[in-house]
Symmetry: D2
Subunit: 338 residues, 4 copies
């Protein structure tokens, strides 16, 4: 078993990490960090547990430590649910201290030697870990993208071999993406907020790196443009998005690519049976009905129409955050980077 | 005063008509029609009034008549809130009987001699009434477009002189658009439904007619393509939409066009002070905060970004339905077509 | 294995039955009935599956039959999710045909020889099956109460030995209780509907029968009065209720009764570890966080205050409907009534 | 015109005050206070205006001052929307400085010489202002109760002459009551929170003072008990409540009292045509349909049933907060206390 910890274990994404790691076949959850105020308390007492599955008993007994690299003893991998400002230093310190960091934070995603990985799309980017090691880091940092970028890039995996140069995406994102306290009820009830700070830039930037080519020394960005328009809607979990691609092939050909796609990975504990579920019902995917498919790890694609237009949807705090980091860590173990 | 009636006065759009016409400076509301079952009852007893403003007292006393042209006595204009299947025959019968029909139904919108009018955009299309008269109709039919098409075309009015060929629009539409009983709570709570039957086709077709040129005998469609992706979101009133246009001018130039636009109309009772409110706050427009601007007749535009991308939003049952028909009728009176 | 069927398998409660029975240790689900229109189709094609767990594959292959007793072959128990008007005859026909009926319908609940059972409260009422057999019925009908009555009576189990004569209960009920199509979104968004047809009468009547004493020939109603005020709130699943009881003992004594209560049953597959979860956090129970406890079978009780006042909450379509019938059926098997 | 100000003008209740006072026949709004950070800015720039009616232009130009009594020049009355901790000192300072304070804060409500007034219920309690003046205060403090207490006491006005000793009330309260930022969307979507800090105590305490008798020197509490169970539900505006009273008269007699009730006040600008609207439809009142009656000042009562049970509902930030204070101030002017 690989000994693991969670940085920032009491927040929305932190709780998802705890849930996903509580009974994991590869990982033994031994360390939970939070703010200084919570350090020293049992996790059960430090956390305001808000998932609808009960807090796993054994995890509740773990004593929370401060979020500092020197508080992490005997840990092989840490999962980071830290806010970006904190993550910059703490994650770097951890990597220097020989720990593997699988991070959901945005701080290091665009660093030239840090892989930004969606396993079904660019597992080979993990080779960038070697760049970090060449630079003298004992551990490593591997990041996963922003939640809406994950849904988008997973949905592109089956059709990436079609030629296109222009991608437009309008998102309808769930409120859980902003954390438990992020969006006041008075702001979002009976409403749409057509702005999410930094989100459009992240989608536009991160998609090109993920879909880009790692040539052994750097990532060459994918050769298309991304234009995003991001909206918050009154949905608890599940990011939906309307996508346009200037693929010239007929819609039937694109449909076949979705139907016949084989995931290049297999046999990772968190990998769902279908990473992409291609739906043909006229009114799907829908967040409430489809977000928990594949235990929250499946991205559903539907309403493929000429244009090429389609809808993609996935669970933003599982597939789009904690589950993404855990899947990355499983792949890292599987490929022997630990 | 012009004597007016409402066809289908008990439904969601019918109630909005009643509210807008109850105390109107041009129009005297004298006739309300509904299904045979309601005919003979006082409107007060026939309707399940569900607007949050009280049912106007005098209107409550009107005796409901059956929805047939021969039941309409001494009426100059009827406003039609009928479902499309019923509207086809009833509206044609009314026009033949010498009545002016201002219709929110989709039945006649694409007929070659029926104007599809958004006053701020194509008031001159009203001249098509003459085609109808030339063909021997005593009355006329004038239609307004589908709710989401209205928001889109009003938002285009200030920037229609820029060159563009490719318009994409992803909508986030309110549930009131489907009528009081249209969307079960279980379907839409905590959810997005990425499909609205016929809506994308209507947006794509109607926009080109409205933005087209009437050359005296027919409408030549506007020379650009429209690609729509329509979604239902958990919002009561107010359709939001993310729009992309391939305008090459810099975003500042487009912003100036929005800021400096002068509405070509004035002094109609239902015309708002601003038909387009161009907002520069980073997180607006929002349905709950902005839908009632201009008594529900203003279309708010915001988040103008390079791309060109922007967000448009307006009240779907006022600006996008009943208010649109009433504004058309005011314009018809003003231009002497009655 | 006991061979079982579901009457009315395509509706909201019917789908829950299918989900709970798909992989059950006692029951082998072999028959699914629906309206004539669906008969002959595979269940997969007949149902509009709307639970967030996938439709179990093997169940999807079952061919749906018409809802008539003579269509049920080789079935030991049927679970009834029929509307009351249909249930009256069909359930009686089934019982005559030798089938055990576990019904969620209201039709037979108040019949003098039909047990109305909440296993933790009045398992002994199952002896009323003998009355039915004495009257010549080969099968039997056993009913579970209305959803809100179930939450109330389970919450009373630990404190039923305190003396009280006056029970008041104000409910805040979820929309799923009215079926998938029951409540239009326009009616319940941003709203409370202070009326649920027949619900208050059911709570007042059924509670007294369940808490009553079966003396071998009839049930003597419990000696207290129930006054209910039932409201629909914008919640998907989970009925909450504020309860008052004129218990004179101090609140600490009542708290101890909740804490020390031992469920009189054990080892039934659907019985949760805790039938009553007594919570001491000041703001619990809450539907979204607590409804899935015990796989939806736990009733959570909290906010015990002098008065005696408390809040009870449970999942209305699991504990309050399908799960209740399944638990009854398990008890029936366990006690040898089959 | 009476010159007035608003203390705490940028918050949820403060904005309602501004809206109600912007065009008032008695009051000239000249002063707006906020935190030190906002002082010196135009109100337009200091406030994040979130009502769906536009910010009145002239009010937007007012320069915000710090929330201190010595910053208030030439003001006759201030309306207080301050949090309780701030209100204690600032309101007392204002009264000492000769200003009349009409407060929505809870700080002084239970002070023996401070009237807690609902005009339709206990206008005569305003005589307590004389106690304050006898004690040497130049100005005065008059308070209105907590939002849910207001709905309850207004609903009791028509039936207060019936004998009862035991009042139970279960509330279903809107999220706006907690301020714009008070309730995270993640907490209340698809949920009920059965706890509102301090609310039950306020209802129990304040109701007895308001319904009590002022004998010239002190208020003798009303001779009944109140037991409240307060819940937050996913509604934007409008507090609903289920009320039980042990009135022994038949329900028809109580209905007549509601129907025949005449409000003891008249001709105040904010007083609605009906302070109590007694509804006989079986499913009313409902927050979304009924909260704006009487421009938000009417309390709707319905579902009167034996028990005696009924439902009361009113707009919590208008009738239940800002509108209550403004109505108090109008009464104060009318009775010559200024």
């Amino acid at each position: 078993m690989v000994s693991v910890g969670v940085l920032g274990a009491t927040g929305a994404v932190g709780q998802r990490f705890v849930q996903l790691l509580a009974d994991h076949p590869y990982f033994d959850l031994t360390v939970l960090t939070a703010s200084e105020r919570s350090a020293g308390k049992k996790y059960r007492d430090a956390v305001n547990w808000r998932l609808d599955l009960p807090l796993p008993e054994t995890v509740g007994d773990i004593t929370v430590t401060d979020t500092r690299a020197d508080c992490l003893k005997n840990v092989d991998i840490v999962f980071s649910a830290l806010p970006a400002d904190l993550a910059t230093k703490v994650e770097a310190d951890c990597a220097k201290a020989g720990i593997g960091v699988c991070s959901n934070a945005s701080s290091h995603r665009m660093m030239p030697d840090v892989p930004l990985v969606v396993p079904e799309v660019n597992a080979d980017h993990l080779r960038m870990i070697e760049l970090q090691r060449d630079a003298g880091t004992d551990g490593f940092i591997v990041t996963n993208p922003n939640c809406s970028t994950i849904m988008l890039t997973v949905s592109l995996a089956p059709i990436r071999n079609f030629h296109f140069t222009d991608l437009r995406v309008a998102t309808m994102q769930a409120i859980s993406g902003a954390g438990f306290e992020g969006i006041p009820g008075m702001s979002i009830f009976d409403n749409v907020i057509p702005y999410i700070g930094g989100e459009e830039e992240k989608m536009e930037r991160e998609t090109l790196k993920i879909m880009g080519t790692f040539d052994g020394s750097e990532v060459v960005n994918a050769p298309f443009s991304v234009s995003a328009s991001c909206n918050r809607v009154p949905v608890i979990d599940g990011h939906s998005m309307a996508v346009w691609l200037d693929i010239k092939e007929p819609v039937e050909t694109v449909a076949k690519a979705f139907q016949n796609w084989k995931c290049p990975l297999k046999d990772l504990p968190t990998l769902p049976e279908k990473s992409v579920d291609f739906m043909t019902q006229q009114d799907r995917p829908q967040p409430r009905l489809d977000r928990m498919k594949g235990r929250g790890m499946t991205v559903s694609v539907g309403r493929l129409r000429p244009g090429i237009r389609y809808i993609a949807m996935g669970h933003n705090t599982i597939r789009g955050a904690a589950g993404a980091s855990v899947l990355n860590a499983e792949l890292i173990c599987d490929r022997g980077y630990l």
